[in-house]
Symmetry: C2
Subunit: 467 residues, 2 copies
């Protein structure tokens, strides 16, 4: 039975659900093909699987209404933020309704004394930081894309600043969640810590829309540092760069960002961002603190780098210089794309204990070379987390197959080294097949029990985690 | 039916289970009254409720065996560490078997490059730090008592260093857990971050033995700071001290400890620890960093304190001076006890958003005065977390009732101020009745669903969370 049959012929309850949603939401309900296709896909090797309909929610009550209607009819529900996920999180393999949360973009409250704020899920990280600018506060988590904070919460996102400020797991204080029944709960308070009850906040962070829909997020904020310094250091080898990272972390230098680009990635950035960096393994670093503190951190790092085969460490505190550097870092996706315009770019990530990072990067670079593919490496190496950005000709199924196989080997390599098949992108559809290998059947069974206990009818983002 | 009848008369399966445990564990199985009483109680206002038997486990396999035997017979299982919990976590209201984990005290591995270690649950925090001394690393979480790391994990403990290093939630990378079925799972890897699967690690952290028994813990470690400075600052008022704390946190000073003692607590410490502090609201602070960094932090803090009615801020880096200060801080329990030898000391804790801290402390101090009880206040105020240490004559039921009522009002006050009825001690039996008020019926129902999904027969620490 095709999706069309399921939605028009055989299932009156489904049709009635869509009618009810149309009546409630008017022009905020759409079944147009263009809207459906836009909500059924993100940047992956996976095929587009559109939902049957899209609701544009503007409040928790809207979400609760839509979920109740869908629950009554057994219709799948898929949360949608800005569509920047990388592993097919929003694909709709079983049809259903995509709930677009991008219009829930209000900043509900800022509490400067408590260093926290509460936002709706459609607020993006850049919008939040623009709003905060005059308060002297900022929200540090930065996955590169201007993702929604709801999506970042749902995928347990992190990025360049995580080595100092942690991931979404560490920076979400509490959530408002619409459960699969349509009931609304709050998972915690604004207290900085609590020892009461199971940690529902952390259960929903990273649950990828499979347990409920996040409609409110209370986040930690931080004071904008008095001084920020950023710099670049070339290395003779990936191994030397990794050893410098380990020594930096061990020595307690509170580095705010420490990113490794392999020679190929540096070359791509030189081309795209008009830089003139030596095309060797390179660390991009950033320090936050007082003027004196930042200078001390930079000096200590420079000495550690020199001990590990690093070349001249150049650092600057001028905002323009720093911005240029980090813009280049954030543009690696586009820099890689520019190497082969028209080819498909696929970003994948893994994370390993930092002691295995050099081994994993070196083995992966050799695998890339053997595969004949173009795939620069860049990583949040302070956390042991790195990305392959693969290029493949979409018209060449054999090459796409080689890319897919390379990703598969990378995932298994990371798991075998005691790591994880995703440090920050999440599972979605792309990494589902590695979950049991990583967690073992017993832990996966616990996840399935939790899923069934909270979503007994399996309507929340079906076909995804925990599988 | 009495416990004795249940265990000897009416339930052959129960008796067979005890026989099976006796056969397996020999002299590591005990039903002696002294051993049972020792395992049925900790420091609380609650009555002792001993288990029917105690197993001294020495391995994950021992725990799995005991849990399987108990599960087959429907016998409750209660994990026991060092017996330092404060809310009746180990009481056995439905009888059953206490599994004493104190002999599982091996440090399994230390990974200096990864700044992590794996320990058995009976290792205490002091034992771990003694073992680490030569590595240049340390484990920062410090709840005062020399608790077991298993107990600290199970109660989501924290303590004086949490303002800088976080709580157990932030410092546990992965766990080995024996499920209620006797099956053993691993909840994560040694990777610093992961976006794959539900966060089972955080689910078991703080689950208080109600979902499974923790038999292995992988923890983050930190480099011992190059320099540590500690100091004391008197304030005119609790409000001024709280405002100084808020300004310190907001300004980004990475304070490692910041503790408030009210005038009564300072007086108690002067008496017990032979200090000569002014008997006014006082902040104890500690800074970690480089020599220059620590000096800068201390100077910045001194200026902030002065702006908020603080007196002379005296700080020192000599280990002896620091130790004397923090020993006095850690001895507040005994200092309070010394005010009324023979009376019962009850410690309770709450946590509120830091902007409400002064209100909550001032209202609580007034309530203490009205109640006619002796109850000094001390707190981890950088997190908005504080404790009442109540004294009551155990021979005076009316006074015990007043103490209990005071605690009740404190819990509700914290919840009404947007906080939690426990920042770090946990729920146990003592705070069970506040869970629904704090979390709401919907969130509590989700917790119950999770409990039922993982422990369908309710054998793990029954009569406790989620109720």
């Amino acid at each position: 039975m095709s999706v069309t049959e399921a939605t028009t012929g055989g299932d009156d309850r489904r049709a009635q659900a869509f009618d009810a949603l149309a009546a409630q939401f008017g022009d905020r309900f759409s079944r147009s093909e263009a809207v459906r296709l836009q909500h059924g896909h993100t940047v992956t090797l996976l095929a587009n699987q559109p939902p049957e309909a899209v609701v544009f929610a503007e409040s928790t009550q809207d979400v609760a209404f839509a979920v109740r209607v869908c629950a009554d009819a057994g219709v799948p529900v898929i949360a949608f933020g800005t569509g920047t996920s990388l592993e097919g999180h929003v694909n709709a393999p079983r049809g259903g309704v995509s709930i677009d949360l991008s219009r829930m973009n209000r900043i509900v409250e800022i509490n400067p004394d408590d260093l926290d704020c509460t936002v709706e899920p459609g607020v993006t990280r850049k919008a939040l930081n623009a709003h905060l600018r005059d308060t002297g506060l900022f929200f540090p988590i930065d996955p590169g894309a201007d993702a929604s904070l709801g999506g970042m919460t749902a995928t347990r996102a992190s990025g360049t600043n995580a080595v100092r400020y942690g991931t979404m797991k560490d920076n979400v204080l509490a959530l408002t969640v619409v459960l699969p029944s349509g009931e609304v709960i709050r998972t915690g308070s604004r207290a900085r810590k609590s020892s009461t009850g199971y940690d529902l906040t952390r259960l929903f962070v990273g649950s990828e829309g499979t347990l409920g829909i996040i409609t409110g997020i209370t986040l930690k904020l931080f004071g904008i540092p008095e001084e920020i310094a950023a710099g670049v250091c070339p290395f003779e080898s990936v191994d030397g760069a990794c050893r410098a990272v380990i020594a930096t972390i061990q020595s307690g230098i509170p580095v705010a960002r420490i990113e490794l680009l392999d020679a190929e990635q540096v070359a791509a950035c030189n081309g795209y961002s008009k830089l003139t960096l030596a095309e060797v393994p390179t660390l991009f670093v950033e320090f936050h603190g007082t003027k004196a503190g930042v200078a001390e951190q930079a000096d200590l790092f420079g000495a550690i780098a020199a001990d590990n085969g690093g070349g001249a460490f150049v650092w600057a505190t001028r905002a323009e210089d720093r911005s240029r550097l980090w813009q280049a870092r954030h543009d690696v996706y586009w820099a890689t794309q520019a190497l082969k315009p028209g080819w498909r770019v696929t970003a994948t990530d893994v994370c390993v204990p930092i002691s295995r990072l050099a081994d994993c990067v070196v083995a992966t670079a050799a695998d890339v070379a053997d595969s004949g593919l173009i795939a620069p490496i860049v990583g949040h190496v302070g956390d042991g987390n790195f990305h392959l950005t693969l290029l493949a000709d979409p018209a060449d199924p054999e090459m796409l197959g080689r890319a897919s196989a390379l990703i598969g080997r990378l995932n298994l390599r990371a798991i075998e080294m005691g790591g994880t098949c995703s440090g920050e992108h999440g599972v979605g559809q792309g990494k589902l097949k590695y979950l049991e290998r990583e967690h073992g059947p017993g832990a996966l069974d616990v996840m399935r029990r939790i899923k069934h206990a909270i979503d007994p009818d399996g309507i929340m983002n079906p076909g995804k985690m925990p599988g």
